[in-house]
């Protein structure tokens, strides 16, 4: 793993995920195993999370690319509603840390990048990162039982 220095624009504020959304993302990661799955989350001001499942246009075990039309619709709604943005994808066989490709292609500095891993089959894990100008900063993930996913 590459040692990362903290980015001056990144925050170390925790990303808050409710338990139901955590479970949903893990379930979704299993749903197309061993292929990678992906999607967006809109984070409302009250902390509730709106989930947008997006097809992996590549349907690959080692690459994901969000289906462009679904991406447009979800991104437009999140932006027009003024919600916070989180971008997630799954790793089925590797740790929940951004790969070199993930970092190179990260084009949303405002987003929290979430990676779900099923590497340890019995203990799925989700980690949260800022990726700004090629710099990765992990932030704590806080799990709360505050909302049902929509």
């Amino acid at each position: 793993m590459v040692q990362q220095t903290p980015s001056r624009t990144a925050t170390t504020q925790p990303f808050v995920l409710d338990q139901a959304t955590f479970d949903l993302l893990v379930e979704r990661a299993w749903s197309d195993f061993p292929y990678e799955v992906c999607g967006l989350l809109g984070v409302r001001e009250d902390g509730r999370i709106v989930h947008f499942a997006i097809d992996n246009a590549e349907r690959s075990m080692t690459f994901y690319s969000m289906e462009p039309k679904q991406l447009l619709r979800a991104m437009r709604e999140i932006e027009d509603e003024g919600w916070g943005l989180a971008i997630y994808h799954s790793h089925t066989h590797t740790e929940a840390y951004p790969s070199a490709t993930d970092i190179r292609l990260a084009a949303y500095p405002e987003a929290t990048y979430l990676i779900v891993t099923l590497q340890d089959r019995d203990h799925p894990e989700i980690r949260a990162f800022d990726i700004v100008d090629g710099e990765v900063t992990e932030k704590p993930l806080e799990i709360r039982g505050l909302s049902e996913p929509t």
């Binding site: 990678e36 992906c38 967006l40 997006i54 590549e58 690959s60 080692t62 690459f63 994901y64 690319s65 969000m66 462009p68 039309k69 991406l71 447009l72 619709r73 991104m75 437009r76 932006e79 971008i87 994808h89 790793h91 590797t94 951004p98 790969s99 490709t101 993930d102 292609l105 990260a106 084009a107 949303y108 500095p109 405002e110």
Partner: protein
């Protein structure tokens, strides 16, 4: 006049504006005017006269790759959206379209 939706990562070139008006009858013409006003956008949007492979451009709900590319016509009330692809993974397949 068509309205162009600018992604956060490119707003440094539009003084922070999320939506910018630009005139033209096609996406290419709209982009020409956009780049004339915000020159910094040129290099980030184009490589060799084509929209960079990892940037999606939509006219209303359609990806212009599946319409007529930069020749895709636009109307006065069209929204043109510029949206970087969201992609990643351990390996990179051939995506230089």
């Amino acid at each position: 006049m068509p309205l162009v939706r600018i992604p956060t990562v490119l707003r440094k070139h539009t003084d922070g504006a999320a939506k910018v008006e630009a005139d033209g009858a096609t996406v290419g013409e709209v982009f020409d005017q956009l780049v004339a006003r915000h020159p910094g956008l040129g290099d980030d949007l184009f490589a060799d006269g084509q929209v960079r492979g990892f940037i999606n451009v939509y006219v209303d709900d359609e990806d212009i790759r599946y319409v007529s590319g930069l020749d895709t016509p636009v109307e006065d009330d069209t929204e043109v959206a510029i949206m970087p692809a969201v992609a990643g993974g351990a390996e990179l397949p051939s995506v230089g379209r």
